[in-house]
């Protein structure tokens, strides 16, 4: 039986492992999410290094093609569902209740459930590596009929996706309920920090599309085991229909992976430029526009599948429209920095790196949006370069920026600044060394998801592999910095950063166990 917490100084909780297993505290759960993401980041990274080792030279060196395909599939599933999504949910858990002046998340027990599903779902997914027939190897997009040839791993894969979908939906419902219901008096919607706004919209996307993915993979399951014909033309179904269902989920999903980054960057840039964010309202509207457009562009992932011409044209123009709100955002960030009193601490470096390199990924996205051009680029390394530019120096850099930005608030200690900068410059150098050459091999026609390649791609692949190992090792510095900062360091002030504004900076560093026991006053 639980009891009511009305005490301002209520800091009691069970100790040891049970504290973490039964916790309903948003900071505990946020911490768990972030550590989970960190562990999965290294597991997914290891898989990437297996891929890059095999591609270091043409020919088959280290792994057999089936295992190589398992690695590409599992790397994607781990990085998307196990790293970027839980990392952002962890940031949301930590920051949103504080930013809106609430005591905790709206539904704290469900919050605990959302987190604890994740390690179990990923244990199920990763266990498939040791099963008969190997781990899923048909690509993370699970296109039938190829994905239906998966061995014993198949039902584990499908149920793991259901399970993590359940976690995401509950996490998103919690975030929406928190934002709509737990705001302190006076915290109107248009006073909320942009991180809160972008997460509100992200959560809406999650609730809208995760069930569609659940439905799609359920159809795969029944097609394989219960004789249905959803994706079987002989029974009147259509394998292409899976691609439509999948990408109806998949395209909003890529904005789920990037919108919270926009919120993070919109918090960091004004702080270190020491100017208010330029065009706050337009940022909110741009985020909402991107979310709306994300529902009507999915088929740009399938231009070469044989759609009617009207479909190709519609999805091309709808996709290109996304450049408008995204351009508004980039313009606003740059304008915020214009004539600002800028300093370049580590979070700012990562945020600026984000703007530059995410924009490169945005431009290659625009190239891919052009249907006739996409016929050339489709399923080549150009696509791999594109989405890694928006996901690694995009989402991942934003997550790292957020960690450096809020780590002093979370731990009460400053991180080692020089080491942080070293981490940034090494990451930036190696991430470009890894992914920039992929544009060239892609344009020259190197297909993705193949363990061997033609000789003319050898040089660029070798460079990319060196970059990947460099990037991987640079992340050990990140881990070291975080552990070191948790253990000690020079004490952080409440405000931490000179230009920082917002409720989180009015609390002590680290903040009390229950952030606001009474509603703060919002000016």
């Amino acid at each position: 039986m639980s009891s009511v917490v009305k005490d301002t100084h209520h800091d009691e909780h069970p100790s040891g492992i049970m504290r973490w297993i039964t916790t309903t505290n948003h900071k505990d759960i946020g911490t768990l999410y972030l550590w989970f993401a960190m562990i999965m980041f290294f597991i997914g990274g290891l898989m990437a290094l297996v891929i890059r080792s095999e591609l270091f030279q043409p020919g088959l060196q280290f792994v057999d093609p089936q295992f190589f395909n398992s690695m590409t599939t599992m790397h994607a599933l781990v990085m998307i569902f196990g790293v970027v999504m839980p990392a952002f949910t962890g940031l949301a858990n930590w920051m949103i209740p504080i930013m809106v002046g609430g005591p905790d998340m709206a539904l704290p027990r469900m919050n605990n459930w959302s987190f604890w599903i994740m390690p179990f779902a990923f244990s199920m997914l990763l266990s498939t590596l040791w099963m008969d027939g190997g781990a899923p190897a048909g690509g993370w997009t699970l296109y039938p009929p190829l994905s239906l040839q998966t061995g014993d791993a198949f039902p584990f894969l499908i149920f793991a996706i259901h399970f993590m979908g359940l976690s995401s939906i509950m996490g998103a419902i919690n975030i929406v309920a928190t934002i709509l219901n737990m705001r302190a008096p006076g915290m109107t919607l248009m006073k909320m920090p942009l991180f809160v706004w972008t997460w509100l919209i992200t959560a809406f996307l999650l609730i809208a599309v995760m069930p569609v993915l659940a439905g799609g993979v359920t159809m795969l399951l029944t097609d394989k085991y219960f004789g249905t014909s959803f994706f079987n033309a002989a029974g009147g179904g259509d394998p292409v229909m899976f691609q439509h269902i999948f990408w109806f989920f998949g395209h909003p999903e890529v904005y789920i992976l990037i919108l919270p980054s926009f919120g993070v960057v919109s918090a960091i840039i004004p702080t270190f430029a020491r100017k208010p964010l330029f065009g706050y309202a337009s940022m909110v509207y741009a985020t909402a526009s991107i979310a709306f457009l994300s529902f009507i562009v999915w088929a740009h992932h399938m231009f070469t599948v044989g759609m009617p011409l009207a479909g190709e044209v519609f999805f091309m123009f709808a996709t290109m429209l996304i450049a408008v709100p995204t351009g508004v955002k980039v313009f606003n960030w740059v304008t915020t920095m214009w004539k600002g009193a800028m300093t370049f601490e580590t979070p700012m470096l990562f945020a600026i790196g984000f703007i530059v390199m995410f924009t490169i990924g945005g431009f290659s996205g625009l190239m891919l949006a052009i249907t006739p051009a996409d016929f050339q680029y489709h399923d080549t390394y150009f696509v791999v370069a594109h989405f890694h530019y928006v996901l690694v120096p995009g989402s991942i850099f934003a997550i790292m920026a957020a960690c450096y930005f809020w780590l002093p608030k979370w731990t009460g200690n400053m991180y080692p600044e020089t080491l942080g900068k070293v981490h940034f410059w090494l990451s930036t150098f190696f991430v470009n060394l890894t992914f920039f050459p992929m544009h060239f091999v892609g344009l020259a026609g190197m297909p993705r998801r193949i363990p061997d390649y033609s000789l003319q791609f050898a040089d660029y692949n070798m460079i990319a592999s060196i970059g990947a190992f460099g990037f991987g090792f640079a992340q050990i510095i990140f881990l070291y910095i975080i552990i070191k900062t948790i253990k000690g360091g020079s004490k952080a002030t409440d405000q931490v950063w000179e230009g920082a504004e917002g409720l989180e900076w009015t609390l002590p560093s680290p903040p009390p166990y229950h952030s606001f026991s009474t509603p703060p006053v919002i000016k």
């Binding site: 039986m1 149920f159 219901n181 069930p211 799609g216 249905t228 029974g235």
Partner: protein, 289 residues
């Protein structure tokens, strides 16, 4: 309960971790079963038992806390937002299956029948296939035995009337709750539960008719696939809804709820109306046209 200027935060709970382990055990058991390991069914049974134990325990905790007056208006409002968005996620889940139905009827089947760019598919693969709906053949490949389709105006029409009536009785019960007429509340809820149970009984009869007389099953091409997945998931939701209504009925008999504090009743009512609306979609697009 709400004192101005303070917040309610619940204590830790063991139920979420039990829920996770229960669901995970069920999934591992189900997967093993699908892979042909007989031990899977025992693992699945243990998992389901854990889930049922968890649901009873978790709801019991929350109901006790609610009856002790621990929840203030803000908590009530959080619950409401939670339920609304949960139902929205359910809407999107059904949207995937309705989307599949519309897609095959609008695109795949006409293409397989040779319309537009599908002319080559039709000519080279299945030249004798003609697109009609409901699809009486087992798809162009004739991958199962012959079957007959389900008509709209027998049991399905009756079931439509039953579900619509249950929506009326539930609203009648809600009015009673707001006016503190406990007997009318209990009668209204009992009628709703009874109508839900009759609906499920008829649905079971219909499935028996489909399997035995029509030779219609999940392997009956895309018609059977969409028919059974849509009606099956809907029937599952009606079952859940009826169980939830039973709990609310029990609590009403026990004296729970008052005109101001009855979130559980309203949440179940929303859910029941959602299930009702899904059925209307099913009746129109699966059975009728």
């Amino acid at each position: 309960m709400s004192e101005s200027g303070s917040y309610y935060v619940p204590h830790g709970s063991k139920w979420p971790i039990i829920a996770t382990i229960g669901v995970c055990t069920s999934m591992v058991g189900g997967s093993s079963l699908l892979n042909g390991n007989d031990i899977g069914k025992y693992i699945l049974a243990i998992g389901i038992a854990m889930v049922i134990f968890m649901i009873v325990g978790w709801f019991n905790t929350v109901i006790c806390e609610s009856e002790q007056g621990m929840y203030d208006e803000q908590v009530d409002s959080s619950f409401r937002w939670g339920m609304i968005w949960f139902i929205f996620s359910e809407v999107m889940f059904f949207a995937a299956f309705f989307g599949a139905l519309f897609y095959v009827r609008t695109y795949s089947l006409p293409w397989l029948g040779g319309e537009g760019a599908g002319i080559a598919t039709n000519t080279f693969l299945w030249p004798e296939f003609e697109n009609v709906w409901p699809l009486t053949a087992n798809g162009p490949g004739e991958i199962g035995g012959a079957f007959k389709t389900m008509g709209a105006w027998g049991l399905p029409a009756l079931n439509t009337a039953i579900l619509l009536t249950s929506g009326v009785t539930l609203t009648w019960a809600h009015h009673a709750l707001k006016e503190m007429k406990r007997i009318q509340l209990i009668i209204g809820l009992a009628l709703t539960v009874a109508l839900g149970a009759i609906f499920m009984y008829f649905q079971a009869l219909e499935y028996g008719h489909a399997f035995n007389d029509l030779n219609l099953n999940m392997g009956s091409g895309i018609y059977g696939s969409t028919f059974f997945m849509l009606t099956g998931f809907h029937g599952f939701h009606v079952t859940i809804g009826t169980i939830m209504l039973l709990v609310v009925l029990g609590r009403s008999i026990y004296g729970h709820f008052n005109p101001k504090n009855h979130f559980a009743f309203e949440a179940v009512a929303w859910y029941w109306h959602f299930v009702d609306v899904v059925w209307l979609g099913l009746f129109i697009f699966v059975y009728w046209i």
